[in-house]
Each structure stands twice: as structure tokens, then as C-alpha cells.
Symmetry: C2
Subunit: 377 residues, 2 copies
Amino acid sequence: MKFIIVRDRLLDALNHVMKAVSGKTTIPILTGIKIDVTKDGVTLTGSDTDITIQTFIPAEEDAKQNVTIVESGSIVLQARMFNEIVRKLPTNEVEIQVTNEVQTHIRSGKSIFHLIASDANEYPLLPNINQDASFPMPADLLKSMIRETVFAVAVTESRPVLTGVNWIIKDQSLICVATDSHRLARRKAKMEQVQEDYDVVIPGKSLNELNKILENTNTPVEIVITEQQVLFKTDNVLFFSRLLEGNYPDTDRLIPNEFQTTMKINGKELLQAIDRASLLARGNSHNVVRLETLSEESIEISSNSPEIGKVQEEISLDLCEGEQLKISFSAKYMMEALKAIGEDHVIVQFTGAMRPFILRSLEDDTILQLIVPIRTN
Amino acid sequence: MKFIIVRDRLLDALNHVMKAVSGKTTIPILTGIKIDVTKDGVTLTGSDTDITIQTFIPAEEDAKQNVTIVESGSIVLQARMFNEIVRKLPTNEVEIQVTNEVQTHIRSGKSIFHLIASDANEYPLLPNINQDASFPMPADLLKSMIRETVFAVAVTESRPVLTGVNWIIKDQSLICVATDSHRLARRKAKMEQVQEDYDVVIPGKSLNELNKILENTNTPVEIVITEQQVLFKTDNVLFFSRLLEGNYPDTDRLIPNEFQTTMKINGKELLQAIDRASLLARGNSHNVVRLETLSEESIEISSNSPEIGKVQEEISLDLCEGEQLKISFSAKYMMEALKAIGEDHVIVQFTGAMRPFILRSLEDDTILQLIVPIRTN
């Protein structure tokens, strides 16, 4: 195996596959990156068994020569070391050559690294996925579906299925739902080019890594869903994730549809007031802040910490309908929900101090956030 | 006590004094910041007993009103909480008022914080320093004297005096020396306005914090050295540090003055080559890289790690005089020394593979770095 490659292009590709390489794997070969060289270009693969990322660097791209192939072949190089070496090489031209099966020589300028590699045959095969039934989704839409739901997955493993986001595709629309049973995030989108129905749970960690790789453009990502795996395909990147097993709870029945109090409020003002109130809420175990209606035109956000002090702040409402209210909730959950909505005009609807309440955007009815209040004395 | 202050000016001052506040103090009052309000302005004080920083915010500055004093007084507020609150306040106008001796009210826009403060009388007094015998040093010179020496102080406490930088003022020149007994950094400067001689050891930590506060301008900093304390004074900041007790070793005799091999080399090229070589040096305990003369015109930097591989790189010399040489040293020490010199043209002088070697700048004879080599097989 021998090829000469443009360092910056190799670094870009490495940045992607490194996201799948874990320092904590129990399978030694997975601390490495597999490099496959054919006459068409160079393929890099990284995996932690849950996530597998493969990037392809074409020999030629946009009439530019990325790679000069001298001899094809495959090898596995220790991922972190290889990544750091490439990062620090002195010139933008890198020659990589394998002799005696595993002796790898990396040359750049007057610098030569000799690394002991591993046999590519020891590297696990890619998940075997039939790619016939794929459907497209614009990358920017996919990114916002992830961003607006994934933060609400459970972080503990007591119910593993809740550490993922439930993707339900039905009647040509996609519903993403995440809940840790104290709050819930839901996002809907029309999916006109999908033929089949699906109901799967994608690990939150996979979606977070996918979000980092995708660019915020409307370039379509091809999605293939099978029984145990999901595959996201962009031009030069294949992103595989295993699916979570188990039945995701039916969340529709958790969402209230009758309300006693409805407020229209500036979401950014509310977010900042809760951020301030949370400073004094750190002393209490659940980071609790209080919301209280003062009139039909204003609410008060407050919090206190017995030994440190208290904070209170009045916020004007655009509208308030229904009953007066005093309610307590987690500042963290409320801030994350408001950030996910990310709009100036937010509707918050309550069904009393002890029942879950919901947040929606005035402009966009595809997003819904639900928070379970906290009982205080 | 009551005053109204411009938030941004308060934040600047807080940024400075926070550098002296430690989370780990055993003296509870020192987790706080003392605020003293007089008709002239507001003074903030933070301290961890080793370092004390005091900043003054004048009521008026450059014909701009920073503070409106309503009632003078003093109070101690929990430092982190106060800092975070000020950072997150909604408007640039902040009113701070104390009622019932310790009830502190911070108002900004529609937000009101009520904090329980501590009595300012419990806060320790500033070190009592006679400021008659001060001398000036430009801030940028002071910063480079710190930057070029402080990294070489000992990090372990086995010989506490080595955790500081030795400042010797004699014959109207200042010599700063730091050593951890494996390497040494020395920097000299002319000090024409100093009247007395001094020989003190300033804690490395204090100098690092001072360096963060000073701006890189030629504005003079007034320095006062007493038996137990040193004080650095700028326009609105007083920076006190305790001095370390104990005799600093005489380092002059460690510095060789006869050499067997002298090289002139591009310091940045050498730094980058050692940075690359150090990637493979992590496996070995002392992060060892090797330097070997190849000819009168070039050297090789190399390193190896038995299970991972090896690296070698040739570097051209501007000049090489004297004997051929093979020597091993810590990559970290060498990189820090080259960064401190920070010049393209560096002179490296050796007295054989087992003896300390020195690095100097070709352009500037005030800086000297010494490194003790590492014995390898």
C-alpha cells in the first residue's frame, strides 16, 4: 500500500471518523482507524460498535487531485496517534506507505514516522444494510430535529430505551420524541418521499455525533432504517448507528390538551430571567425556580436559597388567559426547552400547579416541549 | 451603604480581584470580596492570604461617571455568586444597597437579588507595607520577565523555595532565575531607577496571576519590596504577594561557560520538530527525544516508543562548531525553553552528552535557558 495525499483533506476526513472512535473500547482493534486504498481513493473507517463512521476521499474531486495512488491495500493505524501526527506534519503533502504488511511509514517534508500498524482483516465488517429503501431529508432539517429533541433523553440507564429518541414515520410524516420522564420534547416534520412506516429508537449519543458532522445546508441526507441499524448517507460520509431495543412508551397520552392558564411571553426574556434566578437555585436539590402570575399582564420569576439569599424578577406578558397560578419547576429543564424553541414568541399552557405544562412556538406548530412541575411546600 | 455603578466597569474590576479568590480557602471570609464605598469611589478586595488584589473604581474617570455614591460603607459578598450575578444582570446600571448591616440588595432592570452578606470588619487587613522605596518597571517588560522564567519553577513542594522565582536586584540590574533542578531559566534587565539591592523569592503562582492582570503596554508598574511582601501597583490595581522564605540556591555555578559543541539553528523549526517527535515520546517516562549531529550542516531529532514506532527528522543548521554529539532530553523542557526565547535565531551550546546545555537568543543576550540532559542507554 502506498499513496500520497493532501494533508488538509485527510485531516477533514479524520475529524469525521474520529467521532466514532472511543478511548474506552474493550476491543483493541477499535482504537484504530481502518484505511482502505483503491484506485478510486481512500476510505477511512472508525467505530465503537454503536456508531460506525466511514468517509471516502476521492482521488480526484472538482478537478483537483486529492490523492495519488501508487499501490492499493488496507491497514489499521492507532487512531489518536495517527490523528495527532497528521495534525502536526510540516507540509501539506503526506506520503503513507506500508511495507512488510504492518510497517507503516508516514513522510512529510523531512519528517518520517514509522508506526507499527494492525492487520486490516482483524477490523470488524460494516453493518450489512440493504440500501434499497432509503428516503432523503435536508441536512438542516435533520439537524434541527435532532437539536430540538435530543437534549431531553434520559442520561441514566435505568430504562435504556429512554436514552434514545423515538422516530415514528407514519402517513408520510416524521415525529421525533425524547423524554426522561420529567420532561418531553417533540418535533414533527412532513416526509413526502418516504414509502414505508417505521417506529425505531436511535441512541441520543449517536444523534449528537451525527449533528456535529452534518453541515447546516439543505443538501439531502439519505436515510436507511433497518431492524437493528440506521444509516445516514451524505456525499462522502456513511454514518451507521445501532438502534435501541425495547418498546418506547406511548407519549401522546402524557400531553395535556385542556388548559387552565395560557400565557404568551417573550421567550428570550423568560430564558434570561430564569438563568438569573437559577443562580440562587443551585443550593436546592432540583435547581427549582418559581413562576407566579402577578396580574393579567405580568408574572414573577423567583428563587431562594436559605443561606445565600433570594432573587425575584417581574416579566411583562403579551397575553394571559385563565386562572392565576403559582408553579415551581427545574430551571435547567425550562431553559433547555426555551432554547430548543428559540423564538421570541412562546406560548406556555398550564393545567394547574401539579400537572405537566407545555411550551410551544407561536410561529411554528411542529415543536412542543413538556415539563413536569416540582412539588414544593 | 448605597451606590449605583456601571455594570461593565464593575465586571472589569471583579475580573481582577477574582484572580486572588480561591475556592479552597480554609478561612470562610476569604470566599468573599470586600466592597468599600467612599465618596471617591468603590474599592474591591480579594485575597487567598498568599495573594491579595485590590482594585479601585473612581466615581469619575475621564470625565465619565462610573459610580453614583448615595451612602458610603463596607460589606463582604460571596465572591463567585456576586461575580455571576453581575455577569448576568439585565441592564448596564446596577444599584447596590445594604440594609440592616448585612442585607444586600442588587437591583438591575426589573431584577432584584437579596443576598446575605458578611461584616466587613471580619475581613483581614491588607499587608502593611511602607511604600517609600518603590521603583518603576514598564508593564510589558515585567510581563516578559515573568513569561520567560516562571514556567521553570518546581511544581512539587519538596523544596518550597524552588516553587518561586528568585529576583536579585544589584548594581541597578534585575536578574530573575527559576529552576526545578532539571532546568533553569534566567532573564536580566537594566533597572536604572532602583536605589537599593534586593534578593527575594516570589511565588510562581503569584507571578502567573500578576501576568494575567497586567496589560502589554509600557505603562510603568511601581514595585515595592519588603521583607515578607512584594507589592505591584498600577493605576487602579494593587497586587500584593507574600515572599517565600528560605535561601535560594546559588545558580551561577550551574551554568557552564566552556562548550564543546555550538549550534546556530532556527528555533521555530526546532520547536516544531521536537513537538512532532514528542508524539512518540509519550510512551517513555520522561518524554525523551534525541538530538544527534549528522554533519556540520544538519542534526537529526528522533524518538521512539517500543510498541508504537519511531520518528526521525533532519533539520538544517545555520552553523555548527565543535565536536559531534548525541544527546537526549525532555521534549517538554526543550519546547518550553524555545518558546520562552521565542526567536528565529537560537544558539544552543553543549558540553558533552551528560552535562547541562544552554540555549540563548542570537539577538538578545538577556535571556538564558539551561536544560539537564537525560541519560539513556
